[in-house]
């Protein structure tokens, strides 16, 4: 076949896919790191999506999503995207002490571990280390997601879906590794270095905490990122940790698990000590824990869980 005809086939295929898949392209653009590629993709995809939506070209894709059992993880008008900072106000502060139903072999605690890719190994180790007869653990990591990019993946919507489907007794939320995007507050865009970014991140974390805890019905152990090898990334994570600490202080049932300041005294290191033995604790990206190294944050999480569940408390 002549190259010109092949080009015709490719261009028609891509145009067809772009028209019928415009929502997915916008989402893919939203998931990209800030930069010219993202700007170009979104500047083309958004108008295309408006046109496609207006003439009903979203319908076939929605049908396919239904056929493949995919739930929509984005939506407009959620509190995560636009909402009041009242959720962080002191008058909503949670009671000093909360108690939850304690597990028995007949009625174990259903623990749901979720978050971004960092949740994977942490979830696996929690599964291994929580006593089988008292705790059932389910893990669902949502790779590449975060709170600052709800156009790509809205954690408030996902939390509602997961809580409705699983009805867990406790939640471990490990998230933040992909959060460095600018956030829109009103008409103003703020970067992670702005105080407004910290407040907005705290507000978003509080919204998801409240959804996951169903207003304090169950504990939510929120684990923001640890230190990172890259200094800028590290600064973003430090800001996030401060925001999450503020949010957890205001939401009933929420517990901030600090793995940023506590591990290696807040200093990044590829290796860590576990029971006196050195282990290669971080993956080559300088962010994720290795499976062996995930033991360190897992112990901190278990310590927090033990405050709510006596069965885990040391004798």
């Amino acid at each position: 076949m002549p190259a010109g005809r092949v080009l015709g086939v490719i261009v028609i295929a891509l145009l067809f896919a772009a028209l019928f898949n415009s929502e997915a392209i916008v989402r893919a653009g939203d998931s990209m790191q800030p930069g010219p590629t993202r700007d170009i993709v979104l500047s083309v995809a958004r108008p295309l999506d408006d046109v496609a939506g207006a003439v009903g070209l979203h319908l076939p894709r929605e049908g396919l999503d239904l056929a493949f059992g995919q739930e929509d993880k984005t939506g407009e008008g959620t509190e995560l995207e636009k909402g009041s900072t009242a959720i962080l106000r002191p008058n909503r502060r949670k009671p000093e002490q909360q108690s939850f139903v304690q597990p028995t072999p007949a009625d174990p605690v259903e623990v749901f571990v979720t978050g971004d890719s960092q949740a994977e190994f942490i979830g696996q180790l929690l599964t291994d280390e929580l006593p089988d007869d008292l705790f059932d653990v389910e893990v669902a990591a949502r790779n590449a997601t975060g709170l600052t990019n709800p156009e790509f993946f809205n954690w408030e919507i996902n939390a509602q879906q997961e809580i409705a489907a699983r009805a867990p007794d406790a939640v471990v939320m490990v998230i933040g590794g992909n959060d460095g995007f600018n956030v829109l507050v009103g008409d103003q865009l703020y970067g992670w270095g702005d105080p407004e970014w910290l407040t907005e991140y705290a507000r978003r974390a509080a919204v998801v905490m409240r959804t996951l805890s169903s207003e304090g019905e169950r504990p939510v152990y929120w684990v923001p990122p640890p230190t990172a090898r890259d200094s800028e990334q590290n600064a973003i994570y430090e800001t996030q940790n401060r925001a999450v600490e503020d949010a957890a202080a205001a939401v009933p049932g929420a517990r901030y698990v600090d793995i940023f300041n506590t591990i290696n005294d807040g200093e990044y290191s590829d290796e860590l000590r576990i029971d006196g033995d050195r282990v290669l604790a971080r993956q080559s990206d300088g962010i994720h824990f290795t499976r062996e190294g995930a033991e360190v944050p897992v112990r901190l999480i278990l310590r927090e869980i033990a405050k709510d569940y006596e069965a885990l408390a040391s004798p």
Partner: protein, 469 residues
């Protein structure tokens, strides 16, 4: 991920641009060569350009070594140049791929004999595709040394190594397969569009509809926590992983070969219905064929092959497969994977010689071969040895099996059974596709892209398994 992956928006745009410019420049080799080289470097360095420097350094060193080998009459100098190039290539692999593992193991060993923990544990970033382009570089200098191929210019060697369709995860191309094609302009009137488009479409379906679905719904949950699953779920996860890794890796290779075909270049086949194999030897003639021939030509035969009696042959088989396992990564799980294959290949050869004339029924030979391969996959997939043994120990466990669903069983069986479909069926499909009008072909391909994207959902396509090697 320091490269553009095939099923992404970035690659779609990149490929359209490269396709147009490549065919436009094809009649002008002096312009086409730098163009395709730069395009390949853009592809590789999309996220982190520093890895391109590594690739350039590899091309440079191997070109110089090959030129020295080709030009000097002194056998000693030729040999020294060959050794220097191989040391450099393997050195790159050792630093980037094995350093962390060896330091960690050495540290453990020193600690266990009471010498403390003197070595710093460091995590080295693994450049994507390093195993592939390094093996290609070794094959090139060895072929020049053996006078099986001519020494090429730096530009040609750089394109041979960096040509983007095969750069990240193969196929591992030999110099005499690609260099002659680079030297002859491709004919724009004779693009092999049928096989090219068919391979790209098939690879996309294999990856998104089969591999990622199986990974998400069965394989990952069970391998993450074997103890929490029933024997039925564990079995489905093991068979499911056999299907997943085939669809993931061969899907990538199909897209790579299809992409190259659309640009006018033929890359070697990498899979030939491997799960139809009726012996391990047969399996390795069908699975990751470009790696197995590399191991045969540059490791097994130089070790002596089967020339020095049965014992040496078994040793050579075992060594080759153990090193093949280590090629995948620095972990004991990969070593055991290689050991199972090496042991089974040796046992097979021993049995053939011991009971000459006796043949198992074909179905029994297939059954045994497939299950040896699946047993090895358990180690390959497991993050550590305890998980692997946990999987095997759980096979007989009872309990509810909510992960054993009809769609997952169907996908697993379909991925394996579809290999029995005769090749002529697919060839008819290709012929039918290219006989349709351009618009119909485009719409069909577009529909498939939309469906594939719907199958993977909002989190997108998972990284290809072989990207980590």
């Amino acid at each position: 991920m320091p490269a553009v992956s095939f099923p992404t928006i970035e690659f779609a745009v990149f490929f359209v641009i490269v396709f147009v410019l490549s065919w436009a420049l094809m009649p002008h080799p002096r312009a086409w060569r730098p163009f395709i080289l730069i395009a390949s470097y853009v592809f590789y360095g999309w996220v982190d350009w520093r890895w391109v420097l590594l690739l350039v350094a590899s091309s440079l060193v191997n070109t110089v070594a090959a030129q020295v080998i080709a030009r000097t009459p002194s056998q000693q100098t030729r040999k020294r140049a060959l050794i220097a190039a191989i040391v450099f290539d393997l050195g790159l692999l050792c630093v980037f791929k094995y350093l962390s593992f060896f330091v960690s193991e050495m540290d453990d060993a020193l600690n266990s004999i009471g010498l403390g923990s003197p070595l710093p544990l460091v995590q080295v970033v693994l450049p994507i595709g390093i195993s592939f382009f390094t093996f290609q570089a070794i094959s090139y200098v060895v072929d020049v040394y053996r006078k099986e191929t001519r020494a090429a210019s730096l530009g040609d060697v750089a394109i041979l190594q960096a040509f983007f369709p095969h750069l990240v995860a193969g196929p591992i191309v030999r110099a005499n397969e690609l260099l002659p094609q680079l030297r002859t302009p491709r004919d724009p009137r004779e693009v092999l569009a049928g096989p090219g488009l068919f391979l790209i479409a098939g690879g996309l379906v294999k990856k998104t509809v089969i591999a990622d679905e199986l990974a998400r719904n069965v394989v990952d949950p069970v391998f993450n926590d074997p103890g929490a699953h029933s024997g039925l779920e564990v079995l489905l996860a093991i068979y499911g992983f056999a299907a997943q890794i085939y669809c993931d890796f061969s899907g990538y290779t199909d897209m790579a070969i299809g992409t190259a075909l659309l640009l006018g270049f033929v890359l070697p086949q990498n899979f030939n219905r491997p799960y139809l194999a009726t012996s391990l030897q047969d399996f390795w003639r069908r699975w990751h064929m470009t790696l197995s021939r590399w191991l045969r030509d540059y490791l097994y035969i130089p070790l002596g092959g089967n020339r020095d009696g049965p014992r040496r042959t078994y040793r050579n088989l075992m060594l080759t497969m153990l090193l093949g396992g280590l090629w995948h990564g620095a972990a004991w799980t990969f070593v055991i994977w290689g050991g199972i294959h090496g042991g089974a290949l040796s046992a097979e050869r021993w049995a053939r010689e011991r009971w000459q004339g006796f043949h198992l029924p074909t179905w029994a030979a297939w059954f045994i071969t497939f299950h040896v391969v699946c047993l090895a996959w358990v180690f390959f997939r497991s993050p550590d040895l305890s998980t692997a043994f946990g999987m095997l120990g759980q096979v007989t466990a009872g309990g509810p099996s909510p992960l054993v669903t009809l769609p997952m069983v169907f996908l697993t069986v379909a991925a394996i059974a579809v290999q029995a479909v005769p090749t002529r069926f697919w060839e008819r499909g290709e012929a039918w596709l290219v006989s349709r009008p351009v618009a119909a072909q485009g719409v069909a391909l577009g529909l498939l892209i939309v469906a594939a994207d719907a199958a993977v959902g909002q989190e997108g396509v998972a990284p290809f398994i072989y990207f980590q090697f």
